[in-house]
Symmetry: C2
Subunit: 204 residues, 2 copies
């Protein structure tokens, strides 16, 4: 059985040992495999329902929260963490706080790639290709450092407010984890949550 | 005499009592007035030099800092503050720390308008028209609050790190100032700095 996490541009497949990113328009080649999936991409929801061997784990999630409008990917990540802060650093950076298995709330920031692009649009003088490693405990003394600091420091402070173990996933998760000694980075976190649902419901 | 602060889209004029925003392509109608100006818009630098009654204050700034690449508008704002944090919340949000008249460094974040737009590009589910007032001391329990919190909280934390009086200017300055009780908001701060240069150099 395959697990599949579908976003807006890519589907991520995991077979229990290896992980693969597949462009959305190529998922048809998996249509005859047995796949348990979650999907946040409404444009392909109908198509996925026509794949008869595919099971939508979204229908099996049992996650109770007072939060309104929480994406299923965030819910599933939170299933993995009993007590801690859950960060998914992708196009957007979502942050959720779990306490004794209860969801306490969360927030959403634009992802690092978007912040980098913003600078170039604001002014050619603020163009920056990628985040530079900066010492966030020292005030920058150059525009180059000022831009990287201005992206990473606010994010780090907003996440660091909570005195809890930190669990990080997502494409930019590794970059973020560098600023949090002792944090747990796991690019497969979503699949651990999905597997929990699969097992709990005897879907494999 | 008029003071004029020229950005990428607008020129802001100040005559000592009233303040006016003029689209860049309309500044020709001021060309025969006596104007002391600063300009960060390279596209019109040549044209401004042809206005014979216009004086470029950029040539008179005496601001010493180890910071490399600091825009003249930021330098002038810092001239007004002996001790404190100087925030200019516009397209970009610049933050500079002054201590005993010395510039200690600073950083730059994308402005609120860009962060709002980012969300809409990331996903239609994250579309948000404007910043909602949120309690930044409470974890959000809805996507609407999560987005506004995710914009304002990181900015507030990054600025609030410095235990110093806070001086705020710029188009989004008033919004920001609400999150900092005791801060000083002054939309004319840049003109106060420009006037200092005018007086120091007997330019009027």
């Amino acid at each position: 059985m395959l697990l599949c996490d579908i976003g807006n541009s890519f589907a991520k497949f995991y077979d229990g040992t290896s992980f693969q990113r597949v462009p959305i328009n190529e998922i048809d080649r998996y249509k005859d495999s047995k796949v348990c999936y979650i999907n946040v991409n409404e444009r392909i929801a109908d198509k996925l329902r026509s794949f008869h061997k595919w099971i939508d784990l979204g229908e099996f999630i049992e996650f109770s929260t007072p939060y309104q409008g929480m994406g299923i990917d965030r819910q599933i990540l939170c299933l993995v963490v009993e007590d801690g802060v859950v960060v998914d650093a992708g196009s957007a950076i979502t942050v959720d706080v779990m306490q004794n298995g209860r969801h306490e709330g969360g927030f959403i920031m634009p992802g690092i790639r978007f912040l980098l692009e913003d600078f170039g649009v604001i002014s050619p003088r603020l163009q920056i290709q990628k985040l530079q490693p900066v010492d966030i405990h020292k005030l920058p003394l150059s525009t180059q450092d000022a831009l990287s600091y201005g992206i990473i420091k606010p994010i780090v402070l907003a996440i660091g407010e909570f005195a809890k173990p930190l669990f990080i996933t997502g494409g930019d998760g590794e970059i973020l984890a560098r600023y949090f000694p002792g944090s747990h980075y796991d690019e497969l976190m979503i699949f651990k949550g999905m597997m929990k649902i699969v097992k709990r419901n005897d879907l494999c």
